[in-house]
């Protein structure tokens, strides 16, 4: 499978997924169903995660078709700008969805989620449209009306890249934040996982679990700095096998977290007090989480030496 193939496979998920997640979320208000609301939020968070590899695979897809003289680079850049803006709103929506899932009883973020998911769904439709325009001459139209207005807010890919590479100290600062985020994330996730595995059983689980917003804050900082680094040097990361394996490990961590929280496993450990042992299923998820997070660190470190390991098409 090539990166172009991956891009064409993944690109449906953020577009359809955002609409589905938003639809379920709205339906939950009509039915006053907590389960439905949580389902909608989980879909939005999952789509926000899947949007990352979709975005990252775009450069590979661009490389695959850019030699074709019938392909317009202006149309590709328009698509890339649209995707960048949509990704920003998608990730904010995902972060809000996770915050709402965390709060459970407080509804203050619901309105913000409605607004951001709605805007994201619209922006995603535009990303799909501009992407389709690259190859499908039969649907191609000029930007007009609302899409012309949106286009005004879309960053020009080259300008954004220049801004991120404006000097090496800004780059160094982003990398610094990436490492500080790493320490915060591993510290907080690590202590919870270690407790679930049966070490340091003197801790009750619930208070350690309340550190998870700090872990998510670390993950948020690293997602932001990571995406900015990618936008700054897209070819450096795109054709790198270690980078893609790192992204795969992050997606697997999302799956691991979903399996942990959405099955009965989380409920089986939530109330464990000092000295109480977690069931084997919980230990499995804790071990997987630890192994995958350290794999993410290791693969991240190997990006430098594996740059250029994927042949451009």
């Amino acid at each position: 499978m090539s990166l172009a193939h991956l891009h064409l496979l993944l690109n449906h998920f953020p577009i359809i997924g955002t609409a589905v997640g938003l639809g379920i979320f709205i339906a939950s208000f009509a039915t006053k169903s907590d389960e439905l609301r949580e389902a909608g939020l989980v879909v939005l968070a999952a789509v926000a995660l899947l949007a990352l590899p979709t975005f990252f695979s775009g450069i590979g897809a661009q490389g695959a078709i850019s030699k074709d003289p019938t392909v317009s680079s202006a149309l590709i850049e328009r698509h890339e700008g649209a995707a960048t803006l949509a990704l920003l709103f998608m990730e904010i929506t995902g972060a809000l969805a996770l915050a709402r899932l965390w709060q459970r009883r407080r509804a203050s973020t619901s309105l913000a989620i409605l607004i951001f998911a709605f805007v994201t769904a619209g922006l995603m439709a535009r990303v799909g449209n501009t992407g389709g325009d690259i190859r499908h001459t039969e649907i191609r139209t000029q930007d007009s009306g609302i899409s012309a207005v949106i286009h005004h807010f879309e960053p020009a890919p080259g300008k954004l890249r220049d801004l991120i590479l404006i000097n090496k100290w800004w780059w160094a600062f982003m990398m610094d934040l990436h490492f500080i985020g790493l320490a915060l994330l591993i510290g907080t996730v690590g202590i919870l996982n270690i407790r679930m595995l049966g070490f340091a059983k003197a801790f009750p689980i619930a208070p350690l679990h309340r550190l998870m917003p700090w872990a998510l804050a670390g993950f948020g900082v690293n997602t932001l700095t990571g995406v900015l680094a990618f936008i700054g040097m897209p070819n450096y990361y795109t054709f790198d096998i270690a980078f893609w394996l790192k992204i795969l490990a992050i997606l697997l961590l999302g799956l691991n977290a979903a399996a942990f929280y959405l099955t009965e496993t989380f409920r089986s450990v939530e109330q464990l007090g000092p000295g109480e042992d977690a069931p084997p299923r919980a230990k499995f998820f804790a071990a997987t989480s630890l192994v995958l997070w350290f794999a993410v660190i290791a693969l991240g470190r190997y990006i430098q030496s594996y740059s250029g390991t994927i042949e451009p098409q």
């Binding site: 090496k168 510290g187 350690l208 700054g232």
Partner: protein, 227 residues
Amino acid sequence: METSRDFFDPNSRTTERRPNRRCYASEGSSASAACTTLPCKADPRSLNTKNRSIVFAAMALPPVFLRSIEASSFSTWLRESDSPFAFYFILLFHTFGLALLVGGNAVMDLRLLGVERSIPLAPLKRIFPIMWAGFAINAASGLLLLIAYPTKALTNPLFYTKLLLIAFAVWVMTKLKSRVFDDSSLDEAAMVARGRPLAKWSLVLWIAAITAGRLLAYTYKYITYPC
């Protein structure tokens, strides 16, 4: 398609390995002014001093010392091997150690600073072995990284700053252990009262240490001994 690897690649070994041209003596000429801080060859005739032999020894020491480390087969292998178990393997353990050491400290510091007070304080003592394991991993991997690039590290003032920051941070860590966690007569309130100022320093110092470490990749003057 732009070639970002060549254009701007602060992280890449392709640029990290690129020698600092300013500091290379071209054929037949002496090193340029930018490089005079690192002596290539100590010349006793140029020394107009009584302690000629001592100064001569001092001038000869850095080139002999740094060059002989770099010329060793182990240092060369670490630096130049394409094996995934050479330089980047060490670097990855340096990051694992960072995660254990600073991650553990972060949880402890945040708790002492008032985050999630429902976490019982006394059992946090159990994090110390993890943090010490992280410290041991990083001392060992740090030494290996130093063997790989001795000139790069030792000619950068920031490297000494980083070591100093780590020394302070570890000192604060031992104080946290002895003053807060080893004193079993303290209740939680007293532990927090004693631990708070230490926790603040700990957080600041570890963030500063990470920052100094990261900046080493962008501030070095020489990559290997220039002559």
